[in-house]
Amino acid sequence: MSVTNYIPADTTPQNSSNGQRPNFSHPVEAAFARILDYYGIEWQYEPRTFPLEWDDQIRILEAFSPDFYLPQQDLYIELTTLRSGLTTKKNRKIRRMQALYPEINIKLFKRREMRDLMVKYGLDQEAEAFAGDAAQHDETQQSTP
């Protein structure tokens, strides 16, 4: 089944170009946005929510909002600070999304990849978040439903 509909998360997508800064749910997301800004890459924060499960009445039971969308690359980015053992639910959602929306490009940045990215860009404080409890939010605390 291929589903092309989506739910706009907000009527006004939050991005860097209109001067609005979204309320990021994790400092690492803010750091990621600043890196994109630095390199002049246009981005939107959680601009779409993709339904994943429906009941018999076609009411949405489960949905997924990737963290970032890069319009020029037509690419969705999901960042995770969760340890690998805690990402099962998120991985399942992404697999489900890829099955339902095969035309959508999405990339998951895992915890270690995020840490390496922060180290690469000299963001020691943000990288440190991956060593302590701050990186171990329960999935229900994340921005994605």
């Binding site: 390199y39 890459i41 990339k107 180290v119």
Partner: protein, 194 residues
């Protein structure tokens, strides 16, 4: 382990937990790339453009593996330091000295991961109307790619790990290791100035 034990710079090498690519493997691949580039660009006098600083080692070895006439030039961009961040956008801190309009340009990179820096530099180079513009990278990390590129030449696809050596650094250290290796986890965790 031999590479680590007999490295000319043991103080740096002792921070390495595993060698992923030996100097011999790197040199063999660089020679292959040099042969390929020599064949593809024969009679075209290309300009090889590198972005400082990580590309120094690869550029030096690649140039010597190419047996056709070539020119070389370098660019540099402000790294994503706290000072640069405060100034806003990425900017060139060293531009080319050679005009490239109508020339065959081969952009040489040590590593392409997110592609953010490469994307910025290729935009600048494209605006200068080169006859052709291709990319040669020694190392590639596709898992981190944010900007999609076609690299005409790729030396090695690297795993999703933080690697150093042969130009790749961690806080400006380890570039001068002749091999590519993984940093010990405790080295990555250590913060602050060296």
């Amino acid at each position: 382990m031999t590479e680590i034990q007999f490295a000319a710079n043991p103080e740096l090498a002792e921070d390495i937990s595993e060698v992923l690519l030996t100097s011999g493997q790197i040199q063999d691949r660089v020679k292959q790339l040099g042969e390929q580039i020599s064949a593809d660009y024969a009679g075209r006098n290309p300009i090889l453009v590198g972005v400082l600083k990580g590309v120094l080692f690869f550029m030096a070895d690649l140039l010597r593996a190419i047996h056709i006439p070539v020119e070389v030039d370098f660019m540099a961009v402000a790294s994503y330091s706290s000072e640069a961040r405060d100034k806003g956008l990425v900017r060139l801190v060293k531009d080319l000295e050679t005009p490239i309009a109508g020339r065959d340009v081969l952009f040489i990179e040590d590593m392409v991961d997110t592609g953010l820096t490469l994307n910025y530099l290729l935009k600048i180079l494209r605006m200068r109307d080169p006859a052709s513009l291709e990319v040669c990278t020694l190392f590639s990390k596709n898992k981190l790619r944010l900007i999609d590129f076609k690299c005409k030449y790729t030396g090695f696809d690297l795993p999703d790990r933080f690697v150093v050596g042969y130009g790749l650094d961690h806080r400006e250290r380890y570039r001068n290791l002749p091999f590519v290796g993984l940093l010990k986890p405790q080295v990555l965790k250590n913060r602050g100035p060296e």
